[in-house]
Amino acid sequence: MKNPLRSEAAAYRFLLGTIVYFAAIVLASVVGGRWWGVGVFALLTAAAAVWFFRRDPVAPPPQTAPRRRAVEGEKRILVVANETVGGRTLREMIRERSEGVREEVLVVCPALNSPLKHWVSDEDEARDAAQKRLDASVAQLRAAGINVRGEVGDGDPLQAVEDALRTFGADEIVISTHPEGRSHWLERGVVTNARDRFAVPITHVVVDLEKEREEVQHR
């Protein structure tokens, strides 16, 4: 939602709109009577609501590409994962990608938060939880000999990727999610939107944590 009073010019336009809105209602009431006034009120309110919610969406930002000179034999992988950051499938995938090259892996764990807490910038708890998951995952990857570091990112995974690309010139982005049906990110089209927004090859990894847990228990 766009705040109609975020600048003086917007507030001024809002004032002009209010004048027209109430002038029409008053005029209809005076000329046609009370029910005409109510009718114009309902009509204008509905029209205003439709206009407000069906305005053209904000144009998507241009594709973001990291600025970096390619170095032969070196590969930088940006991994974005939240709850699946500790998943075995993801670790194995990163290991595969790192075979035969000098790899540098940056794992970004978005600090997912509730909308209310996000709006009031209360994200300490979300960052702490993300940091704990990240620490465990990075420790496992380092134990496997991968050159990796981790960062807690913005709660919006796409923003987290964009933030990371500003300082980390990635050759590939790996987005890890839960399987279809359980993943909020897939429901929101994070992978598709990331492919539109970033000029970097993107790999989608599905991590089924429940299945992995069952496999561990059966061993």
Binding site: N3, L5, R6, S7, E8, A9, A11, Y12, F14, L15, T18, I19, F22, I25, V26, S29, V30, G37, P66, R67, R68, R69, S98, E99, G100, V101, R102, E103, E104, H118, W119, V120, S121, E123, G145, I146, N147, D154, G155, D156, Q159, D163, R166, T167, F168, G169
Partner: protein
């Protein structure tokens, strides 16, 4: 895999990061507007309750509202929004004289509105304790009057700063924020005037 050490950053200085979190000023303005809507909404709820539960006649006999005088006052307040907008547009173009003239005119018109409202209170012929009608009339118009007073105080400081040489085409945040508040006060008055005096 080869163990190696890399610099933390790529071969360029990091670009200033802009997070997706809501801008503090925008958030502040949103919360402020939300609180104001709730405040006025509470008073309007009481007003509409009285109108719906009362008789068809409004204002309730034997009261009369000075619709014409309040209409002239409305025109003055709306005009003051135009001069406020002119003041801001002037400083955006580097026209300091326009800024000062616009602010002084806005201040004077706001002051005229407030003085006219006080005069109206003295002559309207009923008091806040004369039934629910009198109470809600004074509450709604008084609440708005208090907002006008706050707006005038903000405008006064903005005007003083303008005459002391503050603000420029690049830095006029004080005028912008004051202008937003003033337009909001005007919008609320149009709602108050339309519902209490006319409809």
């Amino acid at each position: 895999m080869e163990a190696h050490a890399h610099a933390a950053h790529a071969d360029h200085p990091p670009i200033a990061n802009v997070s997706s979190r809501v801008d503090a000023r925008v958030l502040g303005m949103l919360l402020f507007i939300a609180s104001e809507i709730m405040l006025f909404g509470a008073f309007f709820t009481a007003y509409f309750f009285i109108r719906v539960s009362g008789s068809d006649e409004w204002p309730l006999p034997p009261f009369h509202l000075p619709v014409f005088v309040a209409g002239v006052n409305t025109a003055i307040l709306v005009t003051s929004s135009f001069t406020m907008h002119w003041a801001l547009q002037s400083i955006k173009r580097g026209n300091r004289a326009g800024l000062r003239a616009g602010l002084v005119l806005t201040l004077l018109m706001g002051l005229t509105f407030l003085l006219t409202q006080i005069t109206e209170y003295a002559r309207v012929g009923f008091a806040p304790h004369d039934g629910a009608f009198g109470t809600i009339f004074y509450c709604l118009t008084g609440l708005h009057g208090a907002h006008v007073f706050v707006g005038l105080t903000i405008l006064l400081f903005v005007t003083i700063r303008a005459f002391r040489g503050h603000f420029s085409p690049a830095a006029h945040h004080g005028v912008e924020i004051g202008g937003i508040y003033w337009h909001f006060v005007d919008v609320m008055w149009i709602v108050v005037y339309s519902t209490i005096y006319i409809l």
